[in-house]
C-alpha cells in the first residue's frame, strides 16, 4: 500500500468519476431511464462509463438508437456487435417508420437531410416507452448554445428546452423531480472536451467504428466540406465525385456529416491530430449547425439532443 506518496488524480479520472456519479444518481432516482447510443465516439465512452458504474450488475436501463436510415453501415455493424458483447438490450427507433407513419415529412432536394426529423422520432419513442430520463453524450464544448446546458436538463411535456427556466445546478446535487409526461436529458460528459474523449478512448483502448480513422472514400465537396457519396445523393451543378483519404470527427447522418482530410490511421495519430486541430468539431463537420448562427439553439428548444 502506498500511503506515504501524495495521491494523484488525473483530470480524466476526475471527469470519469463525475460521469459515473451522474449515471448512478439517475439510475437511483428515475423509474425508466434510457441511454441513447449512436455508435459515435461520445456514446462509446458513455457505454464504458456505464460498465464502470454498474458492473458486475446489468445496466439498469436499455440502450436506444435513433436510426435515420442514412447511417454509415460501418457504424450500424459496430453498434450491433458492441451491444451483443455487452449483453444489454437495444431499442431501435426508426426515422423511416416515422416517415412511413406520416409523423414527419421527408425533406427533398439535394440538401435534404433527416437530421431534423430525428427529433420527432426521439420524442415519440420517449413517450411510447414512458422514459423519464434519457442519457446523451453531448458535451458543453461542442457548441455555444450548449455552454449553458445543465448536466440534468429538464424538458417539459412537449420535450422542449427553455434556456430561461432551467433549474440551478448546485454542487453535485441533482434535482430529478418531474411530473408525469415530463422528462430529463442527462449529459454525463458535459465537462469533457473532444480531446478528453479521444484521450479516454486511447486510455481505455476502446474500439471505435472504422470511419474515425483515415480511409479512402468516394466523396464530393460542398460548402467547403467533404461528404460521403452514396447512390441517392443528388449532386448540384459542377460537383464532382472523387476519392480522398478522410476520417470523421462525428458520426451523424451521412447526409450532413462531413469528413476531414487525414492520414491518421491509429488512435495515437487521431489524438495527435485533434490536439493540433485549428477548427471546432461542429464547424468542420456538421452542416446542420452552419445553417445559421442560432441553428443548434433552435433545434435544442424543439427537443433535439
Amino acid at each position: 500500500m502506498s500511503t506515504t506518496a501524495r495521491p494523484e488524480l488525473t483530470h480524466l479520472q476526475a471527469l470519469e468519476s463525475e460521469a459515473i456519479h451522474v449515471m448512478r444518481e439517475v439510475a437511483a432516482e428515475f423509474e425508466r431511464p434510457v441511454m441513447l447510443f449512436s455508435g459515435g465516439k461520445d456514446s462509446i465512452v458513455m457505454l464504458r462509463l456505464a460498465e464502470k458504474a454498474f458492473r458486475p450488475g446489468r445496466f439498469p436501463f436499455p440502450l436506444m438508437h435513433v436510426d435515420t436510415g442514412h447511417n454509415f453501415p460501418e457504424v450500424i455493424e459496430y453498434r450491433d456487435r458492441r451491444v451483443a458483447e455487452l449483453g444489454e438490450r437495444l431499442i431501435v427507433a426508426s426515422v423511416q417508420e416515422s416517415i412511413d407513419q406520416g409523423r414527419v415529412v421527408e425533406e427533398t432536394g439535394p440538401r435534404a437531410s433527416r437530421n431534423r426529423l430525428q427529433t420527432v422520432t426521439l420524442l415519440d419513442a420517449i413517450a411510447q416507452h414512458g422514459f423519464d430520463a434519457a442519457f446523451g453524450g453531448a458535451r458543453r464544448d461542442e457548441e455555444r448554445a450548449r455552454a449553458k446546458e445543465r448536466v440534468m436538463s429538464f424538458r417539459d411535456d412537449f420535450g422542449q428546452w427553455d434556456p430561461k427556466s432551467q433549474r440551478p445546478e448546485l454542487w453535485n446535487l441533482y434535482n430529478g423531480r418531474i411530473r408525469k409526461g415530463e422528462h430529463v436529458r442527462v449529459f454525463p460528459l458535459s465537462n469533457w472536451t473532444e480531446l478528453d474523449v479521444w484521450e479516454y478512448i486511447d486510455r481505455e483502448q476502446l474500439e471505435v467504428p472504422s470511419i474515425y480513422f483515415a480511409h479512402e472514400r468516394e466523396v464530393f465537396e460542398r460548402d467547403g466540406m467533404l461528404y460521403a457519396w452514396r447512390e441517392d445523393v443528388e449532386l448540384i451543378d459542377g460537383e464532382q465525385v472523387f476519392a480522398e483519404m478522410v476520417r470523421y470527427r462525428t458520426v451523424g447522418d451521412m447526409s450532413c456529416t462531413g469528413g476531414v482530410r487525414s492520414q491518421a490511421v491509429t488512435l495515437t495519430e487521431v489524438v495527435a491530430e485533434i490536439a493540433s486541430t485549428r477548427i471546432t468539431e461542429r464547424g468542420e463537420t456538421r452542416a446542420d449547425d452552419r445553417v445559421s448562427e442560432a441553428a443548434m439553439e433552435d433545434r435544442k428548444k424543439a427537443g433535439y439532443f
Binding site: T3, H11, E51, G57, A145, P168
Partner: protein, 430 residues
C-alpha cells in the same frame, strides 16, 4: 501532485470586462479555433467595431442574451494549457457568472463547484458594492482561493498608486468579512493582454504571477484528502441478479465525498451505526488498496449488513452524529418567498427527506453585507440563516469543514423547482 483540473468562477459587474478577459485567456492560450475566430471577426465588423477583434464575442452565449446584449445564466467554458517553463499545465473549467439580475443565484451556482474565484474590478471605478458582494458570496461558498483582477489598468495609466489604493480598500473589506480564503491581487488589462497570460511590459512594478501562472499553480482542494474525515454516501447497491459468475455479489457504489478509505479499515454505517470492515474496494479496472475523494468506487464489507441508498459509510472514530435539526445559511432562488413553517424536500448527499422551516434567524443586507435581525421572509436572491427540522436524520458536517457533506438543496414539491442552496452551520443535537 496537484490534480490537473481546476474549476474556477468569474464574476464582475457589467462592463468590467469579464467577457473580454475570458476571451483573452482563450485566445492567448491558443484555444480559439479558426472557425470561431472567423465568426468573431465577422461579428466584430457587423457590430461596427474599429476593425480590432472583439474578444468578448468569443464567449457570446444564447440568442436571447445576444439580443439583449447581456448574459443571463451561468455558462461553462473549457480550456487547457500544456506544461512549459517547468509549469505543469492544466485543464480548466470556467463557470462564467453574469454580473447582474439574478446575480446571487447565478453566482452561488457557479461558485458551488469552484476551487477559485476571479473577481473583476474596473480600475477606474475601484471597489464597488457589487465587488464586495462577489467576495462575500465566494467566501460564503467556501472557495479557498480568491483572485482580485484589477482590470483596465491601461485607462489609469498603469498606475501603481491606483492599484495599491484599490488593494488597500478591498483588503479592509475582506478583513472585516473574516474571509479565510487565500487572496491575491493582479493588475491587468484584458483588452491589451497585460498580466493575463503574458507579463505586462507596461507595469514593471508588478513582478508577481500573471493570472494564468496563478491558475496553473494554485493548489486544489483534493490535494489533501488524508486530512479530512472519510465520507462515503451510498448511491446505489450493486446486487446482480441472474448474471452468470457474479455469485451473491453485494457492493455499495458511490463517490467518495471526502477523505480516503483503505481495505481492512473498520467502518461504521450511518445512521444505523452497524460496524464492519472494508473487505474490498472494487472498480471496473480491478480492486484497489485505497481510494480517495473524489473517486467513484464500489465497497464490499466483511459482514452482511443491509445497506441502502442514502446511508453513509465512515471511519468508526470520525463518523458524524445524525441530526434532525440544523442551522444553515441559505440562498433563496425563487420568487415565492421563504417563510417560517414552509415545507420542502431536502436533498443532502444521496439522502432525501422532508424539511420544515422552524424559524428565520437573520438576513444579509445586500448593501452593507451585515447580518440583520430575524426577517419575516427571505425573497429571491436573499441570503440568510434558517433553522430546519427534517423527517429523517441527516449526516451533516459544517460546510466550512466539508463542502460536500455540508451542502444541500431545497426543492419545492408543488413546482419541483430547486428553491434554495443551503450551507450547514454548526450542527445542533437532535
Amino acid at each position: 501532485m496537484t490534480l490537473d483540473l481546476l474549476r474556477f468562477t468569474t464574476a464582475g459587474s457589467v462592463d468590467d470586462g469579464k467577457s473580454t478577459l475570458i476571451g483573452r485567456l482563450l485566445y492567448d492560450t491558443k484555444q480559439v479555433f479558426d472557425d470561431q475566430l472567423e465568426h468573431v471577426a465577422e461579428a466584430s465588423v457587423r457590430r461596427g467595431g474599429n476593425g480590432a477583434l472583439d474578444l468578448a464575442l468569443l464567449t457570446d452565449g444564447l440568442r436571447a442574451e445576444r439580443e439583449q446584449g447581456i448574459t443571463i445564466d451561468v455558462a461553462y467554458r473549457y480550456f487547457s494549457t500544456v506544461g512549459r517553463d517547468g509549469l505543469p499545465g492544466r485543464r480548466f473549467i470556467i463557470a462564467d457568472c453574469p454580473g447582474h439580475q439574478q446575480y446571487t443565484r447565478n453566482m452561488v451556482t457557479g461558485a458551488s463547484t469552484a476551487d477559485l474565484s476571479v473577481i473583476l474590478l474596473d480600475a477606474r471605478h475601484g471597489v464597488l458594492e457589487q465587488s464586495k458582494r462577489h467576495a462575500f458570496i465566494s467566501a460564503l461558498l467556501g472557495i479557498p482561493h480568491l483572485v482580485v483582477a484589477v482590470n483596465k489598468m491601461d485607462l489609469v495609466d498603469f498606475s501603481k498608486e491606483r492599484f495599491e489604493e484599490i488593494v488597500k480598500e478591498f483588503a479592509e473589506f475582506t478583513d472585516r468579512l473574516g474571509a479565510k480564503a487565500d487572496l491575491v491581487y493582479i493588475p491587468i488589462s484584458a483588452l491589451l493582454g497585460d498580466n493575463v497570460v503574458d507579463r505586462s511590459e507596461n507595469m514593471p512594478w508588478y513582478d508577481d504571477q500573471t493570472l494564468l501562472q496563478l491558475l496553473e499553480t494554485v493548489e486544489v482542494a483534493y490535494d489533501h484528502p488524508f486530512e479530512t474525515p472519510a465520507r462515503f454516501p451510498v448511491q446505489w447497491v450493486i446486487r446482480p441478479q441472474g448474471v452468470p459468475g457474479a455469485g451473491d455479489y453485494r457492493g455499495y457504489a458511490g463517490q467518495l465525498a471526502s477523505g480516503a478509505l483503505r481495505v481492512g479499515e473498520e467502518v461504521v454505517v450511518m445512521p444505523g451505526g452497524q460496524r464492519s470492515r472494508i473487505a474490498a474496494i472494487d472498480t471496473y479496472d480491478g480492486e484497489l488498496d485505497a481510494a480517495l475523494a473524489p473517486m467513484s468506487i464500489t465497497l464490499r464489507l466483511q459482514d452482511e449488513i443491509d445497506i441502502s441508498r442514502g446511508e453513509m459509510i465512515c471511519r468508526a472514530e470520525e463518523a458524524p452524529e445524525p441530526v434532525r435539526e440544523l442551522e444553515a445559511d441559505v440562498c433563496w432562488m425563487t420568487e415565492q418567498p421563504l417563510r417560517a413553517g414552509g415545507r420542502y424536500q431536502i436533498k443532502h448527499t444521496t439522502r432525501s427527506a422532508a424539511a420544515v422551516v422552524d424559524s428565520l434567524c437573520d438576513v444579509v443586507d445586500v448593501h452593507t453585507l451585515q447580518r440583520g435581525q430575524a426577517p419575516q421572509q427571505l425573497s429571491l436572491n436573499d441570503i440568510g440563516r434558517v433553522r430546519l427540522r427534517t423527517s429523517a436524520p441527516l449526516l451533516i458536517d459544517p460546510y466550512a469543514q466539508n463542502r460536500r457533506t455540508g451542502s444541500f438543496i431545497l426543492i419545492d414539491e408543488a413546482t419541483n423547482g430547486t428553491v434554495a442552496a443551503g450551507m450547514v452551520c454548526a450542527p445542533t443535537a437532535a
